[in-house]
């Protein structure tokens, strides 16, 4: 019982992570993939932060009289990771805009089909040469 109480928090986070991961793999729409990536990364952040929490402690800002503080190191790591996440998202979205311009679609299957068609056309051209 104590195991479940002590660990349920991590299990919920893992479920969140897997939802995000599933979205990335299963969905074809490129923006949805980015959203899935975001969910995946944010749940990893939640995991780190919950690791750093101490029962009954306060936020890690020094105040007279408070002795127990939560661990500041995971917070620092996650601040960095959030920035990395937004950087990746921004770049991914910029790529999607360019892909839309070049291919006319933002669905993975359509794009793959167009690429395959290109290869087939190239082969035909070559045979004619």
């Amino acid at each position: 019982m104590t195991t479940i109480l002590g660990l349920y928090n991590y299990w919920i986070v893992i479920v969140l992570m897997m939802i995000g991961f599933y979205i990335i793999i299963a969905h074809g729409h490129l923006i949805k993939k980015i959203v899935g990536l975001n969910i995946f990364q944010t749940s990893v952040f939640i995991f780190y932060i919950s690791v750093g929490k101490v029962e009954g402690a306060s936020a890690p800002i020094w105040q007279e009289g408070i002795i127990l503080y939560s661990n500041p190191l995971p917070h620092v790591l996650i601040l960095t990771a959030i920035v990395v996440g937004i950087a990746t998202t921004a770049l991914g979205l910029a790529l999607i805009i360019r892909i839309k311009e070049a291919y006319g679609s933002v669905d993975e299957h359509d794009i793959q089909a167009m690429d395959n068609q290109d290869m087939v056309n190239q082969d035909k051209e070559q045979q004619q040469c």
């Binding site: 990893v44 892909i99 190239q122 082969d123």
Partner: protein, 492 residues
């Protein structure tokens, strides 16, 4: 200044990158980038010299001693890899301005150099740091700049390849982050040396095993180990040719470094190879990579695809050496990292020259090039011979050490398979040689001139290195052996 070399190795390209925005003209930016990269190369040589004598150099950033502060730790392994990275970067840059003139529009050329420097920074940072989370940060720097550089390719498929790489690369990086988080949770530290001391106590826990698995899977995604290699062929094929030359020689080496570092120095051989069936797993995946990738390479029409699949196969060779988990196996792997950088650097740079002149990447368009671009095609031939593993080239040296290491371990059949893989390489190299030398140029095509000096100089520099280090192997073997020995000495 000498005491600050470890951090200067990373700071020089890092600060050069934003400084490029202040300069305006692309040619000036190119010279500045070349300068920064050469400086990084010189620093890596000095560091390697220091470390061959002194063993390990430690540099405390911010004046805080580890594990409270971040530490830069240089030993023989990472000095060697930093040398490879900065060396290839500088040589490739010599041809960069000429190559991108035809492939990247002028208003984006300055941005190209900034991204190039950032990519160099990221890779050097991963290799020199002694802190696990710092690895993640610099991994992201190198990855983000890589996605942007690849997307600068002319073909629209470059965009799609870059996006796929972004998705797979970010999943890999997040797995690495999960691994680091789990390691941190069980030991309380992020410093690599400190982790190595504290992990044995908690090595039996399931959490640490999970941490290892996630970390290794993340690294293998970046390493393009079969079956996680799907992003690599398209990314290499559609990126600007100079970018391919740079990445083919360096990016997988960095991932291989992380694999070695975390398996040997941090988790320890006993944990990594006995708790989990890593030996068998890596051996199987490595061999599958060699055979499947080489076979696919034979059927490709785009010459960059041929050599990209060949790179996946070469990663397979490295992993086979790794899976032996002996001193000789690790030496073979390190040697192959050095030699493969030389081989693929030369090959892709020569390809860049051909693409510059011919304007196409289809093998069919290379008919008759042997006569029209003799020096460049000769370089491709030597590079190809090196890939196959013909004596007098570096390729032979790595295959030899790998085969000997396998026989030493008693795995005769592995040695046989390695030699068989080389035969497949003969087939795809022969296709190119045949088209270029034994077919007449296609009717109605403009004859092409030899490549400009800007290409010929760096290409032949790398080709000569291929031959030189294939004949006089003392330098590379000595460093690789010493590095392997130091890793085995630490991890027991």
């Amino acid at each position: 200044m000498l005491a600050h070399l470890p951090i200067l190795q990373v700071i020089v390209p890092l600060m050069a990158a934003p400084a490029c925005l202040i300069l305006r003209k692309p040619k000036l930016v190119w010279l500045f980038t070349l300068l920064a990269s050469s400086l990084a190369f010189i620093i890596s040589i000095l560091l390697l010299q220091q470390v061959m004598v002194a063993d390990t150099i430690s540099y405390e950033l911010g004046g805080w001693s580890p594990p409270w502060g971040i530490e830069y730790r240089i030993d023989k392994l990472n000095a060697f890899i930093a040398l490879i990275i900065s060396g290839v970067s500088t040589v490739v840059l010599l041809a960069a301005q000429t190559s991108i003139e035809k492939e990247i529009p002028e208003d984006k050329q300055t941005l190209f150099y900034i991204l190039y420097l950032l990519s160099l920074t990221g890779m050097l940072g991963i290799v020199t740091t002694g802190d696990a989370f710092n690895v993640f940060v610099f991994l992201e720097i190198s990855s983000l700049s890589a996605y942007s550089l690849i997307a600068l390719g002319k073909d629209r498929r470059a965009l799609w390849a870059s996006f796929q790489y972004l998705i797979m690369g970010t999943i890999g990086a997040t797995f690495i982050l999960i691994g680091i988080g789990l390691m941190y949770q069980m030991t309380g530290t992020l410093n690599m040396a400190d982790l190595a001391t504290r992990l044995p106590e908690v090595a039996e826990t399931r959490t640490v095993t999970t941490a290892y698995v996630f970390f290794i899977v993340g690294v293998c995604l970046k390493l393009a180990l079969f079956p996680l290699h799907f992003w690599l062929p398209n990314a290499y094929a559609y990126a600007p040719s100079i970018v391919t030359a740079f990445f083919a020689a360096t990016s997988t080496k960095v991932a291989a470094y992380l694999l070695i570092r975390f398996t040997f120095s941090i988790f320890g051989i006993s944990f990594s190879f006995t708790t989990l069936p890593m030996e068998t797993l890596f051996l199987v995946l490595g061999l599958l990579g060699i055979f499947i990738a080489s076979t696919v390479a034979i059927y490709q029409d785009n010459i960059k695809h041929v050599f990209a699949y060949s790179s996946v196969a070469q990663v397979g060779y490295m992993i086979v050496g790794f899976s032996l988990s002996t001193h000789a196996g690790l030496t073979a792997m390190l040697l192959h990292m050095f030699n493969h950088a030389l081989m693929k650097g030369a090959l892709f740079l020569a390809l860049a020259a051909i693409i510059y002149r011919v304007g196409s990447t289809r093998i069919a368009d290379f008919q008759g090039l042997g006569r029209q671009m003799p020096l460049t095609m000769a370089a491709v031939v030597v590079g190809g011979l090196s890939l196959i593993g013909v004596p007098l080239t570096v390729g032979f040296v790595s295959k030899w050490y790998l085969v000997v290491a396998a026989i030493e371990k008693g795995w005769w059949w592995v040695a046989g398979l390695v030699l068989l893989g080389s035969l497949l390489a003969v087939i795809y190299v022969w296709r190119i040689v045949e088209t270029a030398y034994f077919k007449a140029p296609m009717a109605g095509r403009q004859p092409v001139k030899e490549a400009p000096m800007a290409f010929l100089v760096p290409v032949w520099l790398l080709v000569s290195a291929n031959v030189y280090f294939g004949v006089d192997t003392r330098l590379s073997v000595e460093i690789a052996t010493a590095a392997a020995k130091s890793l085995f000495g630490v991890a027991q």
